[in-house]
Amino acid sequence: MATDSIESNGGKTASFGFQDVAPEEKPSLVQGVFESVAGRYDLMNDLMSGGVHRLWKSALIDRLKPRPSMHLLDVAGGTGDIAFRFMEAGGGKVSVCDLTEGMVRVGRDRAIDHGILSKVDWLVGDAQGLPLADRSVDAYTIAFGLRNVTDIDAALAEARRVLKPGGHFLCLEFSHVVLPVLDDIYDTYSFRVLPALGQAVANDRESYQYLVESIRMFPDQKTLAAKMADAGLARADWQNLSGGIAAIHSGWRV
């Protein structure tokens, strides 16, 4: 399938859900999905995960151990979910960088409501070409963002570049279910229920179909840890959440 795009591209393609697309097409396709869902993104996350994504995000913050001297870069965190939790848990400063302007606007407007605007920077930027100086932040988080990046290896290399020595990398992402019965239930739920839910709540079946497919195309726990090690992130390990529906990967710039 998709032989046209392979020929026009010297053999290189990127996955957009289950479709193969030319690598240069993926960012605008992903932006389209998120511009499309931005306004209802947090509501959909609650519905999709039955609210469990809140527990997973809390687990990420626990692992991060925020402190007042810590400057966090949160990538793909447009609506501010991780940024606000980090500040509430005692973090010092956070820069949010997301590819989609619509998502960043939602987050920035929420920050005005939270009254913490001055401690949060909002940026539109690409995880594969971050607009931050080398060794500029104490921690890097990416929650439910890495699977939307065209070149995961490039994003991991950028994460290492912007971290200070001793800096902590944390990725929260859907992963591969490790429990035998749960994986059947999860398959049914994600391929049948989720797109229908996306249609009902956001009137946007295709965007949620993409989200489900992109989860399946994402590397499993061990493969992602190996990619982190290749990118120079030391002591790469992971912790499964909810039987591997999601996982937190951790690594360090040494």
């Binding site: 920035r108 909002w122 940026l123 539109v124 690409d126």
Partner: protein, 66 residues
């Protein structure tokens, strides 16, 4: 969007301590009038829309040679 609201959405100068051009990793100049962040090396001006720096090369304005 009101004038006042626009002014409250100015870019924090502290941002320029760690914000760089994503192509060159060089420092940026803040043009307050034009609401742009200028990368002299890359000859690009990154727009600031409603207080949000848009740090994507394909969204930036090409600067003329002179």
């Amino acid at each position: 969007m009101s004038e006042n609201k626009d002014q409250s959405r100015q870019v924090d100068p502290k941002l320029l301590e760690f914000l760089v051009c994503p192509l060159t990793h060089g420092t940026l100049r803040y043009d307050r009038e034009a609401q742009e962040l200028i990368s002299d090396q890359a000859k690009l001006a990154y727009p600031i829309r409603d207080g949000i720096p848009i740090m994507l090369p394909y969204e930036a304005r090409q600067l003329d040679d002179d």
